[in-house]
Amino acid sequence: MSTFVLAAPIAGKSKEAEIKRINKELANIRSKFKGDKALDGYSKKKYVCKLLFIFLLGHDIDFGHMEAVNLLSSNKYTEKQIGYLFISVLVNSNSELIRLINNAIKNDLASRNPTFMCLALHCIANVGSREMAEAFASEIPRILVAGDTMDSVKQSAALCLLRLYKTSPDLVPMGEWTSRVVHLLNDQHMGVVTAAVSLITCLCKKNPDDFKTCVSLAVSRLSRIVSSASTDLQDYTYYFVPAPWLSVKLLRLLQCYPPPEDAAVKGRLVECLETVLNKAQEPPKSKKVQHSNAKNAILFEAISLIIHYDSEPNLLVRACNQLGQFLQHRETNLRYLALESMCTLASSEFSHEAVKTHIETVINALKVRGVGVKCSLLIQNHKTKSSLLQHLDSASNASLSVAILAEKYAVDYSWYVDTILNLIRIAGDYVSEEVWYRVIQIVINRDDVQGYAAKTVFEALQAPACHENMVKVGGYILGEFGNLIAGDPRSSPLVQFNLLHSKFHLCSVATRALLLSTYIKFINLFPETKATIQEVLRSDSQIRNADVELQQRAVEYLKLSSIASTDVLATVLEEMPPFPERESSILAKLKKKKGPGAGSELDDGKKEPGAEINGGMEPSASTASTPSPSADLLGLRAAPPASLAAPTSAGNLLVDVFSDSPAAAPGLAPGTDENFLRTECLLMPPPYQPGESKAGLGPPVPWAGEMGWFVCKNNGVLFENQLLQIGVKSEFRQNLGRMYLFYGNKTSVQFQSFTPTRLPQLNIQTKAVDPLVEGGAQVQQVLNIECLSDFTLAPLINIKFRYGGTLQNITLKLPITLNKFFQATEMQSQDFFQRWKQLSLPQQESQKIFKANHPMDPEVTKAKLLGFGSALLDKVDPNPDNFVGAGIIQTKSLQVGCLLRLEPNAQAQMYRLTLRTSKEAVSRHLCELLSEQF
């Protein structure tokens, strides 16, 4: 063909060469078209074809339309065909040429030449504009049902009509032809039947009664196909499957109607469906994938029909089992389709039980089968899946993995935001906090999606009933970025506020607290809302709210908004800084779920309180670790309200622990340490240690890093949050110890069912504590400790109590380390070296060289070593700068002698620590504990 002439020189050359060549060609064609000499049909066809080819290569074409239209009126097939092709591909439906084109089509339709008629029908279907529908919608049904129309034309006419009906249903008149169309189901020609079924399936949705007779015809047709031998249908047999496309279409059509009322028809249909299910169990007639594909296409439609009828329990169970098999199939496509069907199945009455038996399979199909599979399934199917899993009761896990995968495979972040918001909308109950925290984290960190996110949540909140998690996300995002959409009058500040506030009263305390914070942020973002918001804050339902948290926020925010200057307000309520990029919180959550054990509420608990000041806190850390019901996401609490004289007794309590402590602790370490220690604990919280949870030490425990402070000290604040403070005093002798824990209620509300329980490890005896802790009060618990043998893991204590309505759950490490049972031993230089030499086996020694983390003050070092429990031996080491110590670890079962040597190198700011004991594990553990102190 002529295109070849053009294509040959173009293909394979560089882009510039191609463009140059094409521009030259375009100029040539243009001049030919404009030339005085009338072109003959062949040349016209050739140039139009070239233009088409150039267009398909991706270049703009702005001429040649008229020549193409001229080709339509040619009586040469090839010319006409190229003309139609050009028009189908290139002509806009609103082009002024449409009138000319319509004219040519009309002629061809009337030509009674089947080839020309088909070309015309194709063109109508491909353009399918309203103008075309207006011109031909009444003509085509006539062609379709005329007795003398050729099969191929009928086929095209059916689909052409369908196309027009899809674009402009109002223009296609129903009438006498409809009953005749139904009878096309009996047509000899399978192609005609296939096209007719497509048409009827679409038409009968609007006018079921007009086409009711199609059900029995479709059933008999289906029955003939299904029961036919694989060779009966000759050309319409595809890889040994008789007429798969037609079968699929017929089964689809039947899904538009309820089960047939006529018993005979129904019996025949059930028989068909059984045959289809039976065939699935037969050995395949071919190993080719096409064979099984075609077979399964029919099978899936049959299953859909069974689910649609929902009236044949036997078939339903079989269908369900078949789907169960597909869920484990190695072909991804089948698993995908099976999941989709399973989802509709799960909502049907009869099958609920049957589906339940496949829960495991479903979950496994989702989890086990390689990440690629999983993600493709989940991402495309997250809607399906979450609704499916609502029936399967384990959705929180699943929604989590959906969220993770969505993040992992996110094309762009706006897509991610969409997906997660969708997830919240569909399965809000199953979306754990980590998921929505993560959205916020992402939005805060990417300024390119902030506007989009604000707009999207604003739209999502328009829904009359939206999930509380959506309100949370909405409150948070609008509070931060509402200004980005405030320019649009439809989402002006007041509209935003009213929208959020309309949800306020339906929400839980935690969400309301968050919304209050949003409001104060609004005052900063939009000064014009100040009066309205202050009015809301001032109302009795806020300022006198029974919930102390809400009341406090309302009072403080109201005060803040009225006394603070704009500058102060702007600083206090500044936009949240980006979160530090680290592992997605949801990923962390999933990891933990896989890990053993409880304490999961506490995940990233060891997060610095200082970070709360302007909300540097990562969402995951906030509520998860803080047992406060008011997750302080907006990070407002810590700084300004406190300075506005919040009437809490928190501060005093802290001092109480130490000043009022019972005199019951004889022989405690010097009192001067206590203040120092306390301030240290509060001001220098331990660094976050991401490796914690992976180390196989069991669930991560908050304030674990604090343990360091207790290695060399016996007293201090073990734990503190907004509700509770726990102080410790302890003493140890030989292998015995006694520890006093002081639980202080920092709030003004009573804690109920307060139960600290020690997790079993050491032999520790505790006395039960009164289950009620009054607001502002403090209770004391005594622990008697006996060390049975050497150990490395600190014992845990778990504290549960009710505050307000919510259960708080805290797990802590008790500050009991092996060195607490260290008894100092004085000895002479000679003895020391003799024992040192005795402990010369490599496993008896543990050595560590490390950088100094604190100023290298010999006096402090001395105090630490003494606090550690060893005796300090003077004049043993020839180098006076070095420290040498000795002692015995006392346990019930054995005593372990320990020698240690610490060599500071002030120049390099390094230490070398050497421990020798008779037990390898003890050497190693003590060395680790002690090396972290300097």
Binding site: Y77, L85, T115, L159, W245, F300, V373, N381
Partner: protein, 165 residues
């Protein structure tokens, strides 16, 4: 609905649109964008993952699906609405390829580039306005042969294309 064909470098060789909606609502820029995005999506996928992609906004929302098949150096992508069976379309792609193979005798990528119009004709016999028209390969081949004959008889009357250049 549309049919697309791309080689491994993911520049589209052929895009055949059956859907009027693509033309009326969207400019050619958007069409190009659809092509780019579709092939971006498809090309990233492993061999062993699902061949169905639920529609993004660009291809008309969730009612539409991308169904693709990978043959040697070529990707065949169909975009269809929910009235079509996924596996059915997958088979239809196979029929399309087998038909191409019959019409071109051991079809290769270059055949498809140099005979765009022919490929369109074959596709037009199978798909019309985005809907399945004919699935019987022999029937399609017969139609195409008849067209070729017509073409030859007409061309014969005129001069050969070589001279005309």
């Amino acid at each position: 609905s549309f049919t697309g064909l791309a080689n491994q470098t993911f520049c589209t060789v052929l895009l055949y649109k059956n859907s009027p909606s693509l033309k009326t609502r969207e400019s050619e820029d958007i069409q190009q964008q659809i092509i780019r995005e579709t092939f971006h999506l498809v090309s990233k996928r492993d061999e062993n993952v699902c061949n169905f992609l639920e529609g993004g906004l660009l291809i008309g929302g969730s009612d539409n699906k991308l169904i693709y098949r990978h043959y040697a150096t070529l990707y065949f992508v169909f975009c269809v609405d929910s009235s079509e069976s996924e596996l059915g379309i997958l088979d239809l792609i196979q029929v399309f390829v087998e038909t191409l193979d019959k019409c071109f005798e051991n079809v290769c990528e270059l055949d498809l580039i140099f005979h765009v119009d022919k490929v369109h004709n074959i596709l037009a016999e199978m798909v019309m306005g985005g809907m399945v028209l004919e699935t019987n390969m022999n029937e399609i081949v017969t139609q195409i042969d008849a067209q070729n004959k017509l073409e030859k008889s007409e061309t014969f009357i005129f001069q050969s294309p070589r001279q005309d250049r």
